[in-house]
Assembly symmetry: D2
Homo-oligomer: 284 residues x 4
């Protein structure tokens, strides 16, 4: 397994940033494996992801904040450092459609997703047997209009106790309240089964069918308080034709949703995503 | 060149339709080259495209309506017959962006589009030299808010005199009035530079850029009186990333628009499109 | 569930074929749901798939051969008739890579694949637990250079006892002998992890990596006696870059292989495939 | 127009490379716009592209080699520096198929390709009028088996006189001799109308048609002395079906070839390509 550190950076662009950061890592004897940086034209922002080998690196990452502080202050850097060896703790929310859940579980097991799937939370008991197969706790918390605040309170308690880093809504059909969302800013990923911003809201496949589109889509995005409006992480499309009935759209959608959601989760886990202006930067 | 007839049919589904139609063609000694028919599940409609070789066909196509009438009446058929040898007369409307225009002209010349491009109408003189190169009349009709009715009157006059069958809006940046459109129902094809119904209206690339989408699109559709709402004929998408500035989206969009529009025009010309419920059936 | 019959036809093209076949179905009061026919330009072949509703059809399908014989003889038709309600009996062969197996099992359970998966045969015990989860018999038959004839004899015995209609090689890493293949002509589907005919044979991902391709592929095909040379059913590709190490190609390949193989299996099961000249016709 | 310098680097990976290079640019008061670097896993190579703003840069690029030499020697760096303001001088070779030629000419005119197209060399007179339209010298040099060495001599003379930087074979149907190629190492780009390494050599569309593939491809690559074996720059594919005759493959191929070739030319012109081990690195 790769034992590396990843530094994500955004700040106003200024001369000397690359030199200062590269030099900092070199001074502590880190070998940079990957340095990706670009400047945005319209906002004049400096955006970067730097990954270096920790073998031989002579700075304890716990001391990184203090040691890096002078540079960070000089350049007004917003930064985040992560270890590739750290496996984020993930909770998956699911309702009745279990294709994304099963796909994520399989990918985690094959090593494609370097995370711990700590729990599955559902408003239905249906997917229990998949959870059992992979040996993951499955918590059924029914949600109705009346009990929603209480249900969310219970969900949050579970998440906190398990120190969850990332929530994945794998076709979870309930809308989370703004209060809930504020607990996990930029840490809830949803899959919407349309090409956003087309077909926001309920029943996007039916909307797409009625509009007679020639391609259907899927969009993975961070959840914000405005429905289906958060920063887009990944999108995909698949061709459909007049021969496709609504249920064919649903079926074709499933393959899309699995691929699009799993990519988004992976990029989040691998610390490849930066956010600015309600948009994502994906370092690949 | 293929010398064939094409029959497009829609009607309520009933037993015996295929037999009646096949038999009709066989009785007049036509050899069917292609028979494509399907039944829509939700509306129980019969939709079909039949193409047969005219060599040896013993019915003059001018007599087709009368001879076919008994079958048409028995099954309440809406039909249209066309000759593959007939080259539809096309007018292209263009403004300043000339990439779709140039692409269509080139494809027509190589034989990919079996039509006559009879005239180019523009509100700007810019594309004149391309028209000259291909030897096609280029009519400049400036359009302002004030003169729009008069401009459309002149356009319609030109179109009628030249007996135009199809109008292609190849990035024509003026919105046609409902009055104009009613003269050419299901005979005006537009290219919109987004994945409809996302980013309807003006500056779709800017809208897409701001929303931070990961794919940009293009949509060819028939023009109806509601803006960007007509039946979709074809759509395409292309991947973009955070590195793409607005002008990169515009550039990537150009390739999409060319391919998507030229396919739509071709399918129309080859009589492959049926319309029902504001949707298209594309027989391929 | 749809209760329909499907007739697949190939023969030399002649006038009157559509009329004769449509009339035959109509005379027995069948309602045609879907009629797709085309004539090949270079071979002058008539190729067709006709699907009709069995509700009200007044001919027992067991009597179809005798009743249809006069038409078949008149036109020298090669034909095959199938019931959409019949669920083909499938055996899946797998080695260590279980992604295609797991994918097929899941799709069968959700109803996407209208077949019975009767058994899984493997030369390794690794995938047993997936078989158990879905309640499908899992037969381990180790294969070595020495015992191969004996192993194939045992495999064939199992297949015959279970009256298998279709064999799916879901990343089965053994090459089947010509003798074995002759028992199941046009009834063994393999997934090859390259874009055939590029990278035939062993380790296609390594070959692709070394050649520096920008897209990797997967190909589902019928197995014939010549390695990787059978009729291609479906192909797919995925973009790769210089950043992708060999193991990234393998990972990206998995998603491709699942989608490409499952489509091929589905088309076979739904009687959408005709073969001629070592090529497939896919009626969609 | 962007006034920047681009530095392309490859060398054995070692600690301190990023720091040394960034610091060098910073010391001369360059502002880095884009820094992309990665380490190859299997060869342990350091590969990088660095672009910086020349505004305020206090080193004349003519002095770059001498000033940068100490760093280059310390790290055994192979490097190349280029100016974004320099417009490479391009010669296009073409035979009868003119779609790629016309496409490149149009893109150059719209500003998409920041180069000078200095001349067009052809073994046929057919494309003369396109050259005239864009005002570019068109040189007809017929090639036969007998006169080939003489023809190449004349071609080379023209290229040298015009100080050509890049040769683009835009469906040029003659095979260049090794002697010719050695004059322009890594500076001849060819478009092959297949998905290499499938269908090497003559008539790839016919080969593809006969094999019954479901996708056709196109490949842009640098020309080396081994036919169709040079480093691949870009590839694309397009879906085909059993309904497509050979001429349909040719037509679909044209769209592919235009897009794939123009991307390759653009990346070369924008100094985005590094070569190692007969493979390309594309910095995007």
């Amino acid at each position: 397994m790769k034992n590396s550190a990843i530094l994500l950076i955004q700040c106003p662009d200024r001369k000397g940033l690359n030199a200062a950061i590269s030099d900092f890592i070199f001074r502590h004897e880190g070998n940079i494996l990957n340095f990706e940086q670009h400047q945005t034209v319209e906002d004049n922002l400096y955006l970067a992801r730097i990954e270096w080998d920790l073998q031989g690196f002579r700075l304890d990452l716990e001391d990184f904040p203090v040691t890096f502080a002078p540079i960070a202050q000089r350049f007004s850097i917003q930064w985040r450092v992560a270890l590739s060896s750290y496996r984020p703790r993930v909770a998956i929310f699911v309702s009745r459609h279990d294709h994304c859940l099963v796909d994520l579980l399989y990918r985690q097991r094959t090593g494609e997703l370097a995370c711990e799937i700590v729990m599955i939370i559902s408003n239905h008991p249906d997917a229990q047997r998949h959870a059992d197969f992979y040996g993951i706790p499955y918590c059924v918390i029914p949600v109705t209009r009346e009990n929603k605040p209480e249900a969310e309170r219970r969900q949050l308690e579970l998440l906190r106790k398990s120190e969850i880093d990332l929530i994945v809504l794998a076709r979870y059909m309930q809308i989370l309240s703004p209060d809930f969302i504020r607990n996990y800013p930029e840490r809830i990923i949803n899959i919407h089964h349309s090409f956003l911003p087309a077909f926001i809201g309920a029943k996007p496949h039916l909307q797409a069918y009625r509009r007679g589109v020639k391609l259907i889509g899927a969009t993975a995005h961070y959840v914000t308080e405005v429905l289906d409006d958060g920063p887009i992480i990944e999108q995909g499309v698949e061709r459909v034709s007049h021969k496709d009935a609504l249920e064919d759209l649903v079926e074709k959608g499933r393959d899309l949703e699995k691929v699009v959601l799993s990519r988004a989760v992976r990029w989040h886990i691998e610390n490849r995503i930066l956010l600015y202006n309600n948009r994502t930067v994906i370092f690949d």
